[in-house]
Amino acid sequence: MVGQDLLPKICSEPNVERVFVLTRRNGVLSSHRKIEVVHGDVTRPDLGLQYHLKQSVAQATTTIIHGAAETSFSSDLSAASAVNVAGTENMMRFAAGCPRLKAFCHLSTVYVSGKRTGTIREEDLEHNFGFVNAYEQSKYEAEQLVASQAQRLPATVVRLSTILGRSLDGAVTKSGAIHYALRFFFHSLAPMVPGMKESPVDLIASDYAAESISIAAFDQFTPGSTWHICGSSDAFSLEQFLEETLQLFYQNRPAWRKRAIEKPAIVNLETFYLFVRSVEELGESVLKNSVAVLKSFAPQLAYPKLISDASTQHALQRSGLTRPEIRDYYPKVIRFLLENNWEATPQEQVRL
């Protein structure tokens, strides 16, 4: 989700001579002279690279930013683990064979905290509260893997929150569950969300995420550190988020007002799952799709947590990076989504 913002940032780093982009996708074009597209697959041994290619990439690599992940919240654990855990293991094995490696930057999620509630700090990882979905669990296990290699690999972990869109212009480069949920709300297909009125809805801008990753991987790389790239205290409460969204729909689509669509009701988990079960039994395809998306991630809101980014902010401020305020860029994202009929920036022919 941050790739489109991250690559230009990396390419602009003066010390970076070449950027190898490992991708499974065919037909990907390079958009910068420093970029070399490498076709491979983190789920395969040696990342699916031929021996000589692997050797030449390994010889040249000084920094690895590992962001390959199965990010679908509805994947089962084996599918999520195949990419997120086994893929991380393969990438670390590859990293171990990079003689000039200075930094291994593992991209993770703040939701490795799973069903924990309260304040979550950068140094927190181990817990036994369980997870809302397999994605969270697989990323948690991947982090454990990275931590287990701390003595042998110069690694940092960058935990990202939910990426909403670019703060500059609101552009969304890849739709995620949050964008689908907003779309369902707009179309009167999101009747309820689990959580509490005051549950924080932690969101970040993609350009802020990209800048932060770049800082964590290059300028201020510190082995063993963990970064929280999140909204933290600058988050809407769930109640504010729904109301703000409603008002933005009104502002951007005045005719929408006459539909008189209600905000989704905020309910407890038990009621939410009863509704989910009912819809699944009904077999209504449209509503079923909506519920499938909501149930894959929204239960996280029933485990309210404040993601602390105190240490991260301290470091980012040293690099002169300020976190954009959600109230400034959320309206831009909603406008972008409405103007683009809920489509992210077309990616049929991705330029890296």
Partner: protein, 365 residues
């Protein structure tokens, strides 16, 4: 009863009934720039949520008529009259429903005649007859010619029951909300017509033979219900009412998913608004009188509005099914017959009708 002579009689009756302690109304007449104004100072507590406090507007009697034939959900499935599987609907709380061989107007006559027999209101003292039906066939008595569309069951009922002084009107296009709207319009009519004393509200619907008995996962029964809304009712005072219509959902086929999704948040907001406006907490409700849609949906809605399952009068959902516009009032009648209510109990009637209409009524038994 202590009488405050400076208060209107209706207020005194209210004070006596609600045992509200002394209330002082102080009238100050001031002259301001040549124009008279009256400043009213109220000390003490009085609820003016509706003017019905002053006149005991309420539902003084209820009767209903159901067909003699009741069939099981399984039998409906075997006859091809369901969309969903029988087991599915059973898991939603439905077991049986009523299917009528009588016409809607015949059922209406049965219910209304029983009401007049039992409520002590002389037919000629009925000021208004409101006749509600959810579907078009309920609003005419079929004949062979086009002109028979003007053969209205409402006026036939007026004649059959000798309601010689009653004006007559029908309420259609409100789906299952028809009888609730009738009760609301009746109370509005009484409030604005000082001479009028009682309104007879009747709803009746019989689905055409052979059509599926399932609408939006609810099992539908034929039936009729009659209410007498009177100015001086000794029971079932209509305390407050809220309703909302959302035309976006008018097409119940193409917007089926959206209706299912909109149902809960709209219902929640409407009920909460009603209760807040009336100063009634969810736990103050003695009973929720449901429309007999799936019990599963009620489990969800009860949680949304903060009402316990024990407060729901759910007994009729499985056996009577969804009697279109009549559910809330059949349930009220049955709760009264079963001696489940005492004077002063607060009751919430919630209803939804395709169209799409949501309504909630707060009643004091």
């Amino acid at each position: 009863m202590r009488t405050y002579h400076h208060l209107p009689a209706g207020v005194n009756q209210h004070l006596a009934r609600s045992e509200t302690q002394p209330l002082i109304l102080q009238w100050n007449v001031a002259v301001n720039q040549g124009r008279s104004s009256i400043r009213l100072r109220i000390c003490g507590k009085i609820e003016f949520s509706t003017a019905s406090h002053l006149m005991n507007l309420g539902i003084s009697a209820i009767e209903y008529a159901l067909p003699s034939k009741s069939v099981s959900v399984r039998e409906l499935a075997e006859a091809g009259l369901l969309v969903s599987r029988a087991e599915q609907l059973q898991s939603f709380g439905f077991d049986r429903c009523y299917i009528s061989d009588e016409s809607a107007d015949e059922l209406a006559l049965r219910a209304a005649a029983a009401l007049l027999d039992n409520c002590g209101v002389r037919p000629e003292s009925v000021d208004l007859l409101l006749y509600a039906g959810a579907i078009a066939p309920s609003h005419h008595i079929a004949g062979g010619q086009f002109v028979s569309n003007f053969n209205y069951p409402a006026t036939k009922l007026q004649y059959e029951l000798s309601l010689t002084h009653a004006s007559v009107a029908g309420i259609s296009q409100a789906g299952c909300m028809g009888l609730t709207y009738a009760a609301k319009f009746a109370s509005d009519f009484l409030r604005s017509n000082g001479e009028a004393k009682c309104v007879l509200c009747v709803s009746a619907d019989v689905l055409p033979k052979g059509v599926q008995r399932e609408i939006l996962y609810n099992v539908i029964s034929d039936g009729a219900c009659a209410l007498m809304v009177t100015r001086n009712s000794v029971q079932n005072r209509i305390v407050a009412h809220r309703s909302v219509t959302k035309g976006y959902y008018w097409d119940c086929i193409s917007r089926k998913n959206e209706i299912l999704a909109a149902y809960f948040p709209t219902a929640k907001n409407l009920v909460q608004d009603l209760l807040r406006g009336a100063g009634c907490a969810p736990e103050d409700l003695r009973m929720v009188l449901p429309h007999n849609v799936s019990y599963r949906s009620w489990e969800i809605l009860l949680d949304l509005i903060g009402v316990k399952k024990e407060q729901l009068f759910a007994a009729n959902i499985s056996q009577k099914g969804h009697v279109i516009a009549a559910d809330n009032w059949i349930n009220l009648k049955d709760a009264m017959t079963a001696n489940l209510l005492i004077p002063g109990d607060k009751l919430l009637a919630f209803n939804f009708g395709l169209g799409a209409n949501w309504a909630a009524t707060l009643i004091e038994h």
